[in-house]
């Protein structure tokens, strides 16, 4: 039930925020803050009560309730380490998004918070659902409010950007819907059971040709969302025209839904087709890394610049996903989290600057280090994070990804590493242009105030924590990553001692409609043989600092 509550609180909170706006503008901000805090608290509680997921069972909680039984659609939610981490990120970023809009959004405050909370609800749904119909449903639910966020509260060119964002994601989403339907009918014809359940569909055997086509359907949606280079053109527009909260959610969360989709659906559903496609996907990743970096370097609009760094960083994600080993996937999960934080932070700084200067043009900025030292320090930390300085989270992410992808494809990894050098160049350019050089502005630039520090400090703490002690995150993600990779690492040895482990009791009051499914589909050996493969050795990373 707790999973349903996460979504319900956000949706109801959204409606309440809208209604309470009629009474008082400030009230809707507090309602929004309260509901995000509530779900954040719930998720945190969930994480802390299962500090180390029991080995052998990746799924912590499941909830299933029939929805449209005629079509085999159920309202099915489940959480494992991966979803848990993504939810923590979602609500953390959501909290920041509410806080940074406190002063920035002054028109139609109530409707803004409604949209904000509904985007978060949609994203939460995407990270939780285990029913493909429901997945598509939430995938679409997060689009509309995002469209409004960009289209109503964005900058000058907002309508164009909102349009483009909507059309790109909708078109690719429909292709995914076709693929989902294809999978549904193939599975139904094989087994006679027509269902959209993820766990059931995992057992579908596909002809290679069909698998390839269906995989491309799913890839269309995820690669556009990620985005991978030929399909990225919506991203710079959407990111730069959105209000700060919108940019933060786009960069921090919406892109991650694409990566999550790759991990959760594409890898386990199409184990053969992905292997065929892997070299091309990795090539696209490398192209993305380098292309994004080059374009980032040549931008003058700060938000556009940061947007292109996202393209570059997301290249690492696709590179890692298609390396098919645990190192790379751990790197991908870390990258999703740290990129969410570091890029989110850079957008927030861009927002702070825009609020003060009403420009995003970095040519007009300069020399702010002396006038706004606090902002300078914060910016420095996140710029360093973005270029992958050891000690900060992004380093761990990129290091792991590269280690993993090296095992899969040496040459492409070499080229990907060039991206790190380029990241250094564009990142230092940001610092150089904004905080050093001569100050052309006559305008006074007030330093960060208490509310802004309240936003910045937790982010700094998080990125440092992820950089210095990523073990807790890696531990949480590990079982589910192994599960996604099961089809790739499967060796007969590993299945000798199969043991079924029931899901841990996190909720004491089990309601009738909650079904407790032991992880029947996934039986992981209780004692993994350390000699079978490199990927199954436990990962312990100690940072150099």
């Amino acid at each position: 039930m707790i999973l349903v509550w996460l979504i319900v609180i956000l949706m109801v909170g959204g409606v309440l925020a809208w209604i309470s706006g009629k009474v008082n503008r400030a009230l809707s901000r507090w309602v929004a803050l309260g509901s995000v805090l509530a779900v954040f608290g719930l998720t945190l509680y969930l994480w802390l009560s299962n500090p180390v997921p029991v080995l052998g069972s990746a799924w912590l909680i499941q909830f299933t309730q029939p929805w449209i039984p005629q079509w085999g659609i159920s309202f099915s939610l489940a959480i494992d380490g991966l979803s848990l981490l993504m939810l923590l990120l979602t609500f953390f970023i959501g909290l920041l998004a509410v806080l940074i809009s406190w002063r920035e959004i002054q028109t139609k405050v109530a409707f803004f918070h409604f949209n904000l909370l509904w985007v978060l609800a949609g994203i939460t749904g995407v990270f939780l659902t285990m029913d493909l119909f429901l997945f598509y449903f939430f995938w679409e639910v997060m689009l509309i409010p995002m469209y409004f966020l960009i289209g109503i509260w964005g900058h000058e060119n907002r309508r164009y950007a909102a349009f483009k964002f909507f059309i790109f994601t909708q078109a690719s989403g429909l292709l995914m819907l076709l693929a989902i339907l294809g999978l549904y009918f193939i599975h139904g014809n094989q087994t006679g059971v027509y269902t959209f359940s993820y766990f059931e569909l995992l057992n579908t055997t596909l002809a290679p040709e069909a698998a390839r086509l269906l995989m491309f359907g799913f890839l269309a949606a995820f690669l556009v969302k990620l985005p991978v280079v030929p399909f990225h053109s919506w991203l710079p527009d959407a990111h730069s025209e959105a209000p700060t909260a919108g940019s933060v959610i786009l960069a921090g969360l919406l892109l991650k839904t694409g990566a999550y989709g790759l991990l959760r659906f594409v890898l386990p559903l199409f184990p053969t087709a992905t292997v065929e496609f892997a070299p091309w996907a990795m090539l696209l990743g490398v192209i993305g890394i380098i292309y994004g970096a080059i374009l980032a370097f040549s931008q003058t609009d700060l938000k556009r610049l940061v947007a292109y760094t996202s393209v570059s960083h997301m290249g690492f994600v696709i590179l890692g996903v298609f390396a098919f080993n645990e190192w790379a996937l751990q790197g991908v999960v870390m990258q999703m989290i740290t990129h969410g934080l570091s890029t989110g932070a850079l957008f927030i700084i861009a927002g702070f600057l825009y609020e003060r200067l009403h420009t995003r043009d970095i040519r007009q900025m300069g020399g702010f280090w002396s006038t706004a030292p606090k902002m300078g320090v914060i910016a420095l930390i996140f710029v360093m994070a973005s270029l992958g300085l050891p000690g900060l989270g992004n380093f761990i992410a990129e290091f792991l990804t590269l280690v993993g992808s090296w095992q899969a494809n040496n040459w492409l990894t070499v080229f990907a590493t060039i991206g790190l050098v380029m990241a250094t160049i564009y990142s230092l350019r940001i610092m150089q242009k904004i905080f050093f050089e001569a100050n052309h502005m006559e305008q006074a630039l007030p330093d960060l105030n208490a509310r802004e520090m309240l936003i910045a400090i937790p982010m700094v703490a998080m990125i440092l924590w992820l950089g210095l002690y990523p073990q807790s995150v890696l531990d949480t993600a590990r079982p589910s990553i192994q599960e996604q990779l099961q089809a790739y690492t499967e060796t007969p040895l590993e299945h000798e001692h199969v043991a079924e482990v029931a899901a841990p009791e996190t909720e004491t009051s089990v309601v009738n409609d909650v079904e407790w499914k032991p992880s029947s589909n996934f039986q992981i050996s209780t004692s993994p043989n350390p000699s079978t493969s490199k990927a199954s050795t436990p990962l312990i990373i100690k940072s150099s600092n």
Binding site: W67, I68, Q70, I167, Q170, L174, L177, L181
Partner: protein, 485 residues
């Protein structure tokens, strides 16, 4: 005819009776409110009488009609749509000076025509139904006769519909000439052994498709739709878009399922081309429009194309998908035109995109309802349109009509452009403070009828979007008896 025959035709008899009563009432004295109440009550009574026919199975009234689950469902759907339209009409016509009482009579008549269509099993009843429907529509479209556009639309519809009827008749004659019967079942038996249609029969079917295509306004027979939609009074437009098309589609499905037209590649090819052309032309032309009624006209052309995709699936699931989508489409279209009708003032309909600028800040609830309707047309989740589109896609994927399915997906994206554009216009910032003031409203009692109807429609839309199982159960329960050939 026996007594049981009459019982099975009860909805039609009630409507016919209502028409006669209306005529007498008008003769005694004109009163808009009384006419309105008679109409609404008779629609309700006709709908209630359908509950008697719930478990009808398949009852034939030789040689013309057949009452079965399929027919009952379609009649019910059209009666409800007509009821909602008459609710919306009251406020719309109350503002206008012209004589408004005959309008309801024509509305009742046109509904009878549509109902006859979906239960006909003979060319004679088919033609009778289509003509009752069309003749009433001629008058309805040109009802506001002082307005130039309205007259133009009426004449246009009259000429084209007469032409299409001629095509239909000629087609029927050719089919009769080669099979010797006008009953659907007889035709099915006569051509059961043909693997390929002979030329004469093919020509007959082709001409009939022209006639039916006009009524459905599918490409290339769609020319009249935008002009008529634009010229007709908004409630009448809603009627043309829903009840009239629903009835014709119903008889098309019945005929095709009966003769199993899906066996013949030529016919399937014709419908495939028509479906693709309708989707593409409808959506692309809608992009160029600035007039909301014309946008909705082109969008309905595209939606008929979507419906044909499920129709072409040609099996039980396809029929269910068509029916489900039709319900969603009815709700959405009536709702959208209801908003147009509600925003219209004495002089003209609210049809320019400009009329909707910053509507969200002037009339938030109206704008919210309109947004919901448009998003449903675009097939966005939480609305009935999404589930309907999903059903159609599922039916298409199931029978592996990949070309059509991909075209549908592509067209949904094109469709998004113009739906979202209207939404964007409504969400724009008001330029001056004066604009925020709502324009003069009608008397509250009249206003309530429209607002209530729109609220019901919006709630239905979301309910079906979130919880479609209920509707699915009804559809599957009623259709299971009738479509098995």
């Amino acid at each position: 005819m026996t007594l049981t025959d009459f019982q099975h035709l009860m909805p039609l008899l009630i409507l016919t009776f209502a028409v006669l009563v209306s005529m007498l009432v008008i003769a005694v004295g004109r009163n808009h409110k009384i006419m309105y109440v008679i109409t609404a009550v008779s629609f309700l009574a006709a709908f209630a009488s359908l509950f008697e026919l719930r478990d009808v199975g398949r009852y034939t009234i030789e040689p013309l009609l057949v009452v079965d689950g399929f027919g009952v469902f379609y009649i019910g759907m059209m009666l409800l749509a007509a009821l909602l339209i008459s609710m919306l009409s009251y406020a719309y016509f109350e503002q206008r000076e012209e004589r408004k009482e005959e309008y309801y009579m024509l509305l009742l008549l046109a509904t009878i025509g549509a109902c006859v269509l979906v239960i006909s099993k003979h060319f004679a009843s088919l033609f009778l139904g289509i003509e009752i429907l069309s003749v009433s529509l001629y008058a309805l479209i040109a009802y506001l006769r002082t307005r130039e556009r309205s007259n133009e639309a009426g004449i246009k519809y009259l000429i084209l519909a007469a032409f299409s009827s001629a095509f239909l008749l000629f087609g029927m004659a050719l089919v009769y000439a080669s099979t010797g019967t006008m009953e659907f079942a007889g035709i099915a038996a006569a051509i059961a052994n043909f693997t390929e249609l002979p030329l004469l029969l093919l020509t007959g079917f082709g001409l009939m498709i022209v006639g039916i295509g006009f009524k459905l306004s599918v490409v290339p027979f769609h020319m009249w739709a935008p002009d008529v939609y634009e010229g007709a009074p908004a409630p009448v437009t809603a009627f043309i878009a829903t009840v009239s098309k629903g009835g014709v589609l119903g008889v098309l499905i019945r005929f095709f399922m009966e003769v199993d037209g899906f066996r013949y590649p030529t016919l399937v090819l014709i419908f495939t081309i028509v479906a693709i052309a309708s989707m593409l032309a409808g959506n692309l032309l809608a992009l160029l429009q600035r007039n909301v009624k014309r946008i909705l006209a082109y969008s309905s052309i595209a939606h008929l194309g979507y419906l044909l995709v499920a129709f072409l699936a040609g099996n039980q699931m396809g029929v269910e998908a068509v029916t489900f989508y039709l319900v969603a489409y009815f709700i959405t279209t009536v709702g959208a035109f209801g908003v147009v009708a509600m925003l219209s003032d004495k002089e003209r309909d609210a049809e320019q995109l400009e009329d909707y600028r910053a509507l969200l800040w002037r009339r938030p609830w109206t704008a919210a309802v309109f947004t919901a309707m448009l998003l449903s047309l675009a097939g966005i989740p939480l609305t009935a349109g999404f589930v309907g589109k999903f059903y159609i896609l599922a039916a298409g994927v199931n029978t592996q009509l990949w070309l059509l399915v991909v075209m549908l997906a592509l067209n949904s994206v094109i469709g998004l452009f113009y739906y979202i554009r209207i939404v964007a216009v409504m969400f724009q910032q008001p330029e001056a403070e004066a604009e925020i003031q709502p324009r003069g409203r009608l008397r509250p009692s009249i206003y309530v009828a429209s607002v209530g109807t729109l609220t019901v429609l919006a709630l239905l839309l979301v309910y079906i979007g979130v919880y479609p199982s209920g509707l699915l159960q009804i559809i599957q329960g009623l259709l299971v008896t009738s479509t098995a050939p």
